[in-house]
């Protein structure tokens, strides 16, 4: 069966059986938050709240201002639109719950484990450089300058979230988005993913993944297309998206979807087009091979429904392909290292 026919049949079936009863099957214990449990020995940390920032007597008023500015930028990153951000995303779109929540990409581990070697760019990254990565890929933009007020305030927010946490303890529970593992199931299905999407996601993110805005303000972020994360973003990896969805979506209902549903819908979403990977060589298949360490988990440069994903020059709203800051770094003991700046 051609994929298009299969899609049509499964979507039609979903309509016939689903539309009149409104949406997906009703859950009986919908109020219960179903998150994975921490493994024995895993380290957890309660990140400070906004009230903690406001009331911490140890904070110099200037520092408090900087941390609060960082939080404000984290929650409303759109205030940097057109300068550093060229899509509809905010930090909080993926790091939900103010970046404090386990299973939702809590930001404090970045402050306790960096500087560290990072496979994605193959060198030791500072916290600033890690944040620069988010701007370059997830925000389809370019990072604030290292050492700038904007970067300082974002770093300060991350670091304050780690207050009281152990430095360089790596056995962290609920870190990142990887609870489902990084092995895509063999029976992962685009068409099933389309049905899961229609039943559970489209109500907020729109039938075309475009998200929703009110008077130009983003309410629900777009999941694909020009205003979403680009082909180099961590979330474009199917396993990352699957774990994010499993433990965070639909909003307020972690664990509502089965593992299979989370994988299928992550595949469906990440089989849609989005702005070009800033590391693009001019050929998506070649770029995929060059960065296979990353792209082995994405569908970029592969053929889905008759088209090679990412074979285009579309950088979305961003008027350039690659931010200047994305450079390799070499470090040789005893000699001054090249700076990424």
């Amino acid at each position: 069966m051609k994929p298009l026919n299969a899609l049509f049949i499964s979507m039609s079936a979903a309509l016939l059986f689903g539309a009149s009863a409104a949406f997906a099957i009703q859950s009986n214990d919908v109020g219960h938050v179903k998150l994975p449990s921490m493994k024995p020995g895993q380290y957890d940390h309660q990140a400070p709240t906004l009230a903690d920032i406001q009331n911490d007597k140890d904070l110099h008023p200037e520092l408090r201002k900087v941390i609060l500015k960082g939080r404000d930028l984290f929650m409303n990153t759109q205030q940097l639109r057109g300068k550093y951000v060229f899509n509809d995303m905010n930090c909080k779109s993926c790091h939900m719950g103010e970046g404090r929540m386990a299973w939702s990409g809590p930001v404090w581990p970045a402050a306790t484990t960096l500087p560290d070697f990072r496979g994605k760019n193959g060198h030791v990254n500072s916290l600033e450089e890690r944040i620069a990565g988010c701007f370059s890929y997830s925000m389809n933009g370019t990072p604030p300058e290292y050492g700038s007020d904007t970067m300082l305030s974002l770093v300060a927010y991350h670091q304050y979230m780690a207050k009281g946490a152990k430095l360089y303890d790596r056995n962290i529970g609920g870190r990142g988005f990887s609870s489902l593992g990084n092995e895509m199931p063999k029976d992962i299905s685009f068409t099933q993913g389309a049905v899961v999407y229609a039943h559970n996601c489209a109500v907020c993110h729109g039938p075309n993944g475009e998200g929703k805005k009110v008077n130009g303000e983003v309410v629900f972020p777009p999941l694909w297309g020009d205003a979403s994360y680009n082909w180099g973003a961590g979330l474009s990896r199917v396993f990352t998206a699957a774990s994010f969805i499993k433990n965070n979506m639909p909003l307020g209902q972690p664990g509502r979807l089965t593992d299979k549903e989370a994988w299928d819908v992550a595949y469906f979403i990440n089989a849609q087009e989005r702005p070009q990977d800033p590391r693009y060589t001019g050929d998506a298949k070649e770029t995929r091979e060059k960065y296979l360490n990353f792209h082995k988990a994405t569908l970029y440069g592969t053929e889905i429904n008759g088209k090679v994903l990412g074979q285009h020059d579309n950088t979305g709203e961003k008027p350039f392909l690659k931010p200047e800051v994305l450079k390799p770094r070499t470090f040789t003991e005893g000699t001054p290292a090249s700076s990424p700046q």
């Binding site: 298009l4 899609l7 049509f8 979507m11 039609s12 979903a14 309509l15 689903g18 539309a19 409104a22 949406f23 997906a24 009703q26 859950s27 919908v30 109020g31 938050v33 709240t49 906004l50 939900m96 719950g97 103010e98 404090r100 929540m101 389309a194 229609a198 039943h199 559970n200 489209a202 109500v203 907020c204 729109g206 039938p207 075309n208 929703k212 009110v214 008077n215 303000e217 309410v219 629900f220 639909p250 909003l251 307020g252 209902q253 972690p254 509502r256 429904n305």
Partner: protein, 217 residues
């Protein structure tokens, strides 16, 4: 591209059904609002002559409500996903076009200013926090994450809740807790309501009621 077109087409028929019928005629809606459905009271009997509702009796303000949302709610009353004896009895004879006309009429009415808050400062502060920041430690996202900036509403699915009567908001949250209101897609509101404490419900209802609502055009 074909797949995208197909998806759009399917999603529109599946999810935006209300929009398809929502081209209501406000003038006819006004007439129907005054006449009633033939076997019941006119809308104004409970919702007031200007759709302002009646806080003391938990009758909601319907003036300035998103027309798609209002239509979807009336259909839910007819189909039993929302239960209210008076409401069901008074609209059961209207057909879908008439409901759309009513929804279109009430959407055009100006929103009255919110009543002076009677809640304590602490209550309003707690309500504001829930409405705009949430309480993530109890897995409660802020109301505004779905109801939009300042909780003015997003579309026919996510209504404005600022400037709604506190008594009505409280009643509805409790109905969700009890499983008596099931018209929300993907149980989005039910999940949240079931995690709210009585104290939080009082607070968030009082805060939202104290906020001005802006009519959607």
């Amino acid at each position: 591209m074909k797949i995208k077109v197909l998806l759009v087409a399917i999603a529109w028929t599946g999810f935006m059904q209300a929009s398809v019928y929502a081209s209501g005629d406000p003038a006819n809606g006004q007439t129907l609002a005054m006449q009633g459905d033939g076997s019941g009271a006119p809308c104004a009997a409970c919702h007031g002559p200007q759709g302002e509702g009646m806080a003391a009796a938990t009758f909601p303000r319907i003036a300035g409500l998103d027309a798609d949302y209002a239509l979807r709610q009336m259909i839910a009353f007819q189909q039993g996903q929302r239960v209210n004896a008076a409401m069901t009895m008074n609209i059961d004879n209207f057909d879908e076009q008439q409901l759309a006309d009513l929804a279109a009429y009430f959407a055009t009415l100006p929103v009255p200013a919110p009543a002076a808050a009677t809640a304590s400062e602490e209550q309003l502060a707690l309500g504001k926090k829930l409405a705009l920041e949430g309480d993530w430690d109890n897995y409660l996202p802020p109301c505004s994450s779905c109801h939009g900036p300042n909780n003015q509403g997003v579309d026919g699915t996510f209504p404005g809740i600022a400037g709604q009567h506190a008594s009505y908001l409280k009643q509805q949250l409790e109905l969700w807790q009890q499983g008596q209101r099931t018209s929300d897609p993907v149980q989005l509101m039910e999940a949240i309501a079931k995690r709210l404490s009585p104290e939080q419900i009082e607070a968030v209802a009082a805060y939202l009621a104290s906020q001005p609502a802006v009519a959607k055009q």
